[in-house]
Amino acid sequence: MSFILDKIIYVLANAINNGMPILFGSTGEIITEKAGHLNLGIPGVMAVGGISGVVTAFFYQQSASKNTFLMILLPLLATLLGSLVMGLIYCFLTVTLRANQNVTGLALTTFGIGIGNFFGASIIKLSHSELTSVRIDETSKVFKATLPFASKLGFIGELLFSYRFLVYAGIIIALVCAYVLKRTRVGLHLRAVGENPATADAAGINVNKYKYVSTCVGSMIAGLGGFYYCIDKNGWSNDNIGPFGWLAIALVIFAIWRPNLAIFGSILFGLLLNLYDLIPALELNIKFPHGYDKLFKMVPYIVTIVVLIITSARKKRENQPPASLGLSYFREDR
């Protein structure tokens, strides 16, 4: 019995851990999309968020006096700052300059991943190591610290309390976002801006302010996802965050624009992503030849497409994308 339980806990913990960068990314993207902005720059934002945190952590690790608190705080602040800058670039172009959102987002992705890779590679050069990735073991160890009583509570403790604090932060952020969007006046205004900015404007809502704030906050949350990924992998390696960014955008659809559903979605995506690697751990006597992991990696995307088709086929009004998603707003347009 406990053997099976152990397996389930192992699989679930693995899935939660894998899904967490996607959850951060998609929570951020949901807020952004609710304001009517399809930010395809999320992979770039996550890369910049990740590398900002990693660079800070890397240099702080080498400083003489180390303080655990600062070791956590500084990388997080750097991550938030880096992704905020990316969010501001996106906002300025799409809100103020009314540029095409798809084009801007894609350019931002190229730009952001370029920045990540460039600094990743430069730091490797700076540290004169032969490695292909920037390692921040010390910092990620600090971030791995879990609640002290977790191990004493048996499998419940392991299932519920054994994660690093960023996991709880991610879930709480998603829940708060869900609450704000659904139950508060701010959320109502935000949704109004995304559905019909002209009406919102007429009702006295400052459309641009809402768009700016939601996109920037969304980017900062997404940036944390990038940093989580780096912490999880003990450092930066080139080109690895991008796919998570696209999965985050996929998860937005999967969760039909609801952050609370995104939590479960992220766990499912995390599970699907690692399905192939999990099969041997489960000892289920199913053997797939080597190389089939690539086919397994398609599954999250196929699932997303199926959800996309179903939501569009059912045409339920509350499950649709925000009506003005992807369109820029100009007050004098008719």
């Binding site: 300059l97 730009f111 460039f118 086919l295 996309l308 994308p321």
Partner: protein
């Protein structure tokens, strides 16, 4: 008019924004060139501050890297052509407001189909037939990959941006899978150059130049695309559907039919780009054979306002910057990583995207307004 005191206190904004009716083409291009120049200055400052390298040296190295010798120049021209064909491929769909960001996937399945034909039919059919098979398979593969989201868009109005995006990753993993299956030393995922000695299924050289045929094919397609979009009935229907689906329906255009037909063309052209990449350039299949062209082409097409001839310029600009920036990385007097090229290109593209605002809109300052009113 007498103003009440309360009205006077209302702070008028310093400026407001109005849409321009039309702008002379030379003014528009002046704005764009100015944007590129400002971007170059920004890149120079960033280079200096972030890396401490001499920006003038960097630009010299970039220029040398792009057109420094004849091989580089031919490579530049070929890559421009390859980016251009993808740009041409996505354009009809964009004009119709079908955001096909799945060019990456459509190219990849085109590459996959071409590779499949080269591996399977080499030696079994005459070379001419082999080429026909390769092209046909690539066209069909790309078209099918675009058709799936297209059908759902036409009948269920499923969001095509997100659908095509997902299709990219399915294609990518499919290619990764076949790279593994077809690899020579099982497990290292490297297929290797196909038909290295016989060169069967390789695009033939013209006058001893291996780049020329690719470029000529794309040039022909460019002219064809221009004529198709501007002078054919199809092109007209595409722009009407793009402007307003309701108008299109009202004047008797079958919108579903147009959507499906257009994404078919779009996908097939992407498949053809895949064929060129495998048969004309790489002669093998890897997961990054597509080289990010699917996304860059969207920017190329959009910057050129969907005009095939402007696209020659925009794709040339981007490839020039990319090629130059990559060579900068290997320049001995500079210490820059080759990922720096993405940053340079990214900044310049962001500036070009931003400058469109100043082409489409005009900023009216308050004081100027008053002066204008007085004149009237």
């Amino acid at each position: 008019m007498v103003k009440s005191p309360t009205e006077k206190k209302v702070r008028e904004p310093l400026f407001h924004i109005v849409k321009r009716d039309a702008i002379p083409w030379w003014k528009a291009w002046l704005i764009r060139i100015a944007a590129v120049l400002i971007a170059l200055v920004v890149v120079a400052v960033i280079t200096l501050v972030m890396t401490g390298q001499d920006p003038i040296e960097m630009y010299k190295a970039m220029f040398d890297g792009a057109v420094g010798n004849s091989t580089r120049t031919w490579n530049l021209l070929q890559d421009t052509a390859l980016l251009l064909i993808v740009g041409l491929a996505v354009t009809p769909a964009f004009k119709m407001r079908f955001w096909n960001i799945g060019a990456q996937g459509q190219i990849l399945v085109g590459c996959l189909a071409t590779t499949f034909c080269m591996r399977t039919f080499t030696g079994k059919v005459p070379t001419a037939v082999l080429f026909i098979l390769m092209i046909a398979f690539a066209l069909i593969a790309g078209a099918v990959w675009a058709l799936i989201p297209g059908i759902f868009k036409a009948y269920l109005n499923t969001n095509e941006t997100l659908f095509t995006l997902m299709m990219n990753y399915i294609a990518l993993n499919l290619v990764a899978f076949f790279c593994f299956r077809w690899s020579k030393n099982s497990g290292n995922d490297v297929i290797g150059i196909i038909n290295r000695s016989s060169k069967t299924g390789w695009m033939p050289d013209i006058a001893g130049n291996k780049f020329l045929l690719n470029i000529i094919i794309v040039a022909v397609i460019t002219v064809a695309a221009f004529v198709y979009l501007k002078y054919s009935k199809h092109g007209y229907e595409i722009s009407v559907v793009g402007e307003s689906e309701n108008t299109a329906r009202y004047i008797g255009i079958n919108v579903k039919h147009v959507i499906i037909r257009t994404v078919l063309i779009s996908g097939a052209l992407c498949g053809l780009a895949g064929f060129l990449l495998v048969s004309g350039v790489h002669h093998t299949l890897t997961t990054d054979v597509e080289g990010g062209r699917g996304f860059t082409a969207i920017i190329v097409s959009w910057m050129a306002h969907f005009n095939p001839f402007y696209m020659i310029l925009t794709s040339f600009l981007i490839v020039f910057l990319e090629k130059g920036a990559i060579q900068v990385a290997s320049a001995k007097n500079l210490q820059l990583d080759d990922n720096f090229s993405d940053i340079v290109v990214g900044i310049i593209i962001l500036f070009i995207i931003g400058c469109e605002f100043f082409i489409n809109y005009r900023i009216k300052f308050k004081s100027k307004d008053k002066a204008e009113e007085a004149r009237e």
